[in-house]
């Protein structure tokens, strides 16, 4: 029931998905799972003027935003999009069986390893022809993110958002804090905030994925993008001294994190930033969703995680990207291709962003004039990045991150001293998981 770091949905498991989980466990699972594939599917695809689309956008704001895109697509092309929306978490959990059954023509998904995985399993159709039309709309980093391991395009990105350190302008002004640009400055700032009676870094890791964000930041700042990618791909070793150094750095700032983190949701942690009890919070820009008061939201700002190793500076930005893929055997391929082409245009992105202001457009041609100050800053940060990462659970095998890394990082956050034996254990488990298929 792990929520993806997209965080754009309510993290509590829905009752339905929970009961289904319980039911499957009771069945001793295994053979029970593929049967669920019957749940997917669409009946109306024989109609040439209809294309079916499986969506995970179950929350009110994105759901409405997507509906507006499809409406404007219909106006432009005359093709109706038959949307099949599922609960965000349920969609993610069922994705395996959904794609093997009779999936919709087009479906929403994430860039990165998670996209490449299904592409390699031949559960998605390459869309190089679509990219010939929309290619000019995207920067190179986005093009990289949209390709499978075979070099073909499988993905049309729609929007993205950065992970960064969020803070309140008024709090920094009041205490005369400076934006830290180096590791030492960050540690010094933490110490000062603690002295001033603030929680230096808000933190909630109950959902087990936020800690991955902290690891990612320290790792690519300290060891660089290439090592991060190798580590995520299972090639580099977790017992490497470089990984140990990441945890040493983390241990140094861990005392300045909000305590009791494993029992706290990210929403509750964000509330301490809203109430100005915390000084900083490392999270995705969806943290803005917790700022319901306009004045508070205007007071929110962020900076890139400070430099640790001058060789890598702040060149890497973690920017999870959401978009669309074409399923393995679309019933209406030409209409689906038209839809994907439309989704790759700046116009489609503008329609979406009008309704959801917590993210920025993936396209470099999208209209930025309506952006809020926060969106503009996010856009600059992402478009100026040398490398983009997705997030640990999107860049690596989901089975590894959910069954090994999530519990391990929760354990580390509680008890940083046991990290050596933990890293040995992580490496052993990683070898088994990456060795299987």
């Amino acid at each position: 029931m792990r929520l993806s770091p997209s965080g754009l949905s309510v993290p509590d498991p829905s009752r339905r998905s929970l009961l289904r989980g319980a039911g499957s466990a009771a069945l001793l699972a295994g053979a029970g799972i593929p049967l669920l594939s019957a749940c997917g599917g669409s009946g109306s695809s024989s109609d040439p003027k209809t294309v079916s689309l499986g969506s995970n956008a179950s929350d009110a704001v994105p759901k409405k935003a997507f509906a507006e895109i499809y409406a404007s697509f219909k106006k432009q092309s005359g093709i109706t999009v038959d949307v099949n929306t599922k609960d965000h978490n349920t969609f993610q959990e069922q994705i395996n069986s959904y794609l093997q059954g009779t999936p919709d023509d087009v479906f929403t998904w994430f860039a990165g390893y998670r996209m490449q995985f299904f592409a390699a399993k031949k559960l998605a159709t390459p869309i190089d022809d679509v990219w010939q039309t929309i290619g000019d709309n995207f920067p190179d980093a986005m093009k990289q993110l949209s390709k499978g391991e075979d070099g073909k395009y499988y993905f049309v990105p729609l929007y993205t958002y950065p992970w960064a350190v969020f803070y309140r302008k008024s709090v920094f002004q009041q205490h005369g804090y400076e934006i830290p640009t180096t590791w030492d400055a960050l540690v010094a700032l933490c110490k000062q905030m603690k002295k001033d009676g603030l929680v230096p870094i808000a933190f909630g890791d109950k959902d087990a994925w936020p800690a991955m964000g902290t690891f990612d930041q320290i790792n690519f700042r300290l060891n660089g993008y290439d090592f991060h990618v190798e580590l995520m791909a299972g090639k580099a070793s977790w017992t490497d001294a470089k990984v140990k150094a990441v945890f040493d750095h983390w241990t140094e700032i861990l005392p300045y994190h909000q305590d009791g983190a494993v029992g706290r949701t990210w929403q509750d942690a964000a509330q301490t930033l809203v109430s100005k009890k915390a000084g900083m919070y490392l999270l995705g820009s969806f943290v803005g969703q917790q700022f319901t008061n306009k004045a508070d939201l205007d007071d929110l700002d962020f900076f890139a995680f400070p430099e640790i190793n001058p060789a890598y500076g702040q060149e890497t930005v973690e920017a999870p990207t959401d978009g669309f893929m074409l399923s393995k055997a679309p019933k209406n391929k030409s209409a689906a291709a038209k839809l994907l082409e439309y989704l790759g245009t700046p116009e489609a992105e503008a329609v979406y962003l009008k309704a959801d202001s917590s993210v920025v457009a993936a396209s470099s041609k999208a209209d930025t004039s309506t952006y809020t100050a926060l969106q503009k800053k996010a856009y600059t940060m992402i478009s100026g990045a040398k490398n983009l990462t997705q997030f640990m659970d999107r860049d690596s095998r989901p089975d590894f991150t959910s069954t090994v890394m999530q519990p391990a990082l929760q354990k580390f956050v509680r008890d940083p001293k046991g990290i050596d034996s933990q890293l040995t254990s992580i490496e052993r488990q990683k070898k088994t998981i990456f060795a299987s298929s």
């Binding site: 001793l28 295994g30 959990e93 399993k121 929680v199 109950k206 029992g263 509750d268 519990p407 088994t432």
Partner: protein, 327 residues
């Protein structure tokens, strides 16, 4: 089928059994045989057959498939990606999985706590309610309510109580300030016990109803006899009532073992089985459901759970039934 029934039924029903008048005993067996018309047999076959097919398909086939999958690796995509790995999954589980042994331990603790605290307490409440005190029905309903509610709902309710920042307990005792946090949900020394309180709260009601039903069936003359013999309340309960509750105790024990082994929903809602609250059922789910899809490995954990269940339940049931047959 309709033609069958119309042709055969009247014949069978209309012809009276030949020996009807002579012998009562004989008549009973004969008419019993005769009354099983083809329609009856078809009905019987359908009524027994459909549940049997469902049972075999949903219980036996899935259980056996799960056992078979435990010796493979499979990502759930296409049957040709199933690979035989022998005992690898179990080796990995027993030696490499940092969550496995804690999970086994927590399942055992779960059982011990349920049998030591809420079960006697449920018995105590049942005995009190059995005395026909005033408003007995009200108490009964109130105490049984947690059993009726979905465990998922119970999980949400208790989460509100234990929330470290805004929860009831920490707010009342002032433990929601930096440096004073009591992390009921995240601290592995606390969270299992915190959840067990919630589980016990529910289990008490369950046990109470079971014992109450058992107590209602105790022959009142036993109490009278005990009273005539001058036994006080405690003596009556200890020497007369409790021994007659033996069948109920069997049910209670089996139910509690099952509850301990299948414990899942509450923990899953509470903190998804974070460190301190790992359970076998949760490990199964985490490995199989969702994108992880380590179906072979998850099945191996499920098989361990199955073996533990069988090892506990079978000897006990065999012993109990043997004793009952002798008696």
């Amino acid at each position: 089928m309709s033609t069958d029934t119309t042709t055969t039924t009247p014949g069978a029903a209309a012809v009276p059994p030949p020996g009807a008048a002579s012998d009562d005993n004989k008549r009973a067996t004969q008419s019993h045989r005769r009354l099983l018309t083809r329609r009856d047999r078809i009905t019987l076959a359908v009524m027994a057959g459909v549940p049997t097919i469902l049972h075999v398909a949903l219980v036996w086939v899935t259980a056996l498939a799960s056992i078979a999958l435990a010796f493979t690796t499979w990502d759930g995509i296409g049957f040709d990606s199933i690979k035989w790995v022998g005992l690898e999954n179990f080796k990995e589980l027993f030696t490499n999985n940092p969550q496995f042994w804690p999970a086994v331990q927590h399942n055992v603790i779960w059982f011990v706590v349920l049998i030591l605290l809420p079960t006697p307490f449920g018995l105590f409440l049942a005995v009190q309610l059995d005395k026909r005190i005033r408003f007995s029905r009200v108490y009964q309903t109130a105490l049984f309510l947690p059993v009726v509610m979905s465990l998922a709902v119970i999980g949400f309710v208790w989460q509100l109580i234990y929330n470290p920042d805004t929860g009831l307990i920490n707010s009342v005792i002032g433990a929601n300030k930096p440096g004073h946090y009591i992390d009921w949900i995240g601290d592995p020394n606390l969270n299992l016990w915190a959840i067990l309180i919630a589980a016990s709260w529910r289990h008490t009601g369950y046990m109470m109803i079971l014992y109450l039903a058992g107590l209602k069936s105790v022959d009142p003359s036993l109490r009278e006899a005990a009273a005539l013999d001058g036994a006080n309340e405690w003596q009556t309960f200890k020497s007369v009532i409790f021994p007659t509750l033996r069948p109920t105790n069997t049910v209670v024990l089996v139910v509690t073992i099952i509850e301990a082994l299948r414990a899942f929903d509450l923990v899953f809602v509470f903190n998804k089985g974070a460190q301190g609250t790992e359970l076998l059922s949760i490990l199964v789910t985490n490995n199989i459901i969702g994108e992880s899809s380590r179906i072979g490995y998850g099945s191996a954990i499920a098989v361990v759970l199955l073996v533990i269940s069988l090892a506990v339940i079978i000897p006990y049931l065999v012993a109990t039934f043997r004793k009952e047959r002798r008696a």
